[in-house]
């Protein structure tokens, strides 16, 4: 099960980030902003940092973006 250590994953994002709970609270606004205005990362940098550090939230973000983008 052990894999090659990835230093990026060990140290996580350098920038301040929100918690998983706050990410869930705001991910819908982030995705709508991403899909409709294209400036989500600039508008919500702490959420973007969390998505770089949390694989589970990143997976759910990718799915929500794909689902919403498919309907836009």
């Amino acid at each position: 099960m052990t894999t090659e250590p990835n230093i990026d994953r060990l140290l996580g994002p350098a920038a301040p980030e929100v918690s998983c709970d706050e990410c869930f609270e705001r991910i819908d606004a982030y995705v709508d902003r991403e899909v409709l205005q294209g400036d989500a990362e600039a508008a919500m940098p702490e959420l973007a940092a969390h998505l770089r550090g949390c694989p589970a939230c990143a997976e759910e973000h990718a799915s929500l973006r794909a689902l919403v983008a498919g309907e836009a």
Binding site: M1, E4, L10
Partner: protein
């Protein structure tokens, strides 16, 4: 966008008015989202016995529906209502897929299990630099982190255990585990910086 926004607003009004047709529309929307998520993760469920993918999608939609009806008054209109609703179904489905795909797998909480593995890197110089940094990180993990921080960091960031699976095995929550991971990472970054390591460009 206009059509979807209108539909989204109408659905919300219907739910707040307690209309059955709105509830059915919401459930159908959630089931579509849960199927979408499970379809994206189909490979993870290939060799797993138990309920079918559609059973999982239905369970996820049902739980998402309950969560949404409880939180309906929390919706502040910062996104379209359908986007807000989808996230509940995607979350419920994703957690089920992660847990189901790991249900027969052992989670070994052994912080020393990765010590013998190399650091990777594209070139010999790159590898040398990363090996030096990795060596420092290993020493700090052993010397500066608590046992709990070591276990969580290695399980999540090295062994790739999904956070929902680890949360279930450790009888805690995703949020609590991520807080432990975050604190461990902050500690490592601070110690490495204090020791003069260049962390420029080290960020996922």
């Amino acid at each position: 966008m206009t059509t979807q926004s209108t539909t989204s607003c109408g659905l919300l009004e219907g739910l707040r008015a307690g209309r059955d047709d709105a509830a059915a529309e919401l459930h159908a929307l959630l089931l579509r989202a849960a199927r979408f998520e499970i379809g994206r993760r189909a490979a993870a469920l290939e060799h797993v016995r138990g309920e079918s993918a559609d059973d999982l999608a239905l369970q996820a939609a049902d739980d998402a529906f309950v969560a949404i009806m409880r939180k309906l008054d929390d919706f502040r209109g910062e996104s379209r209502f359908t986007t807000w609703a989808y996230k509940f179904a995607l979350y419920e489905a994703a957690v089920r897929v992660r847990r189901r795909s790991w249900q027969q797998r052992e989670v070994v909480l052994d912080a020393d299990s990765w010590l013998a593995v190399g650091a990777g890197g594209d070139s010999p110089a790159d590898r040398a630099g990363r090996n030096e940094l990795l060596g420092a990180i290993r020493e700090l993990i052993a010397a500066k982190l608590s046992e709990r921080q070591r276990e969580v960091l290695v399980a999540l960031a090295v062994n790739g255990v999904p956070i929902d699976v680890l949360a279930e095995r450790m009888d805690t929550t995703r949020g609590a585990l991520y807080k432990t991971l975050h604190d461990a990472r902050r500690k490592l970054r601070a110690e490495l910086a204090a020791a003069g390591h260049d962390l420029e460009g080290i960020s996922p």
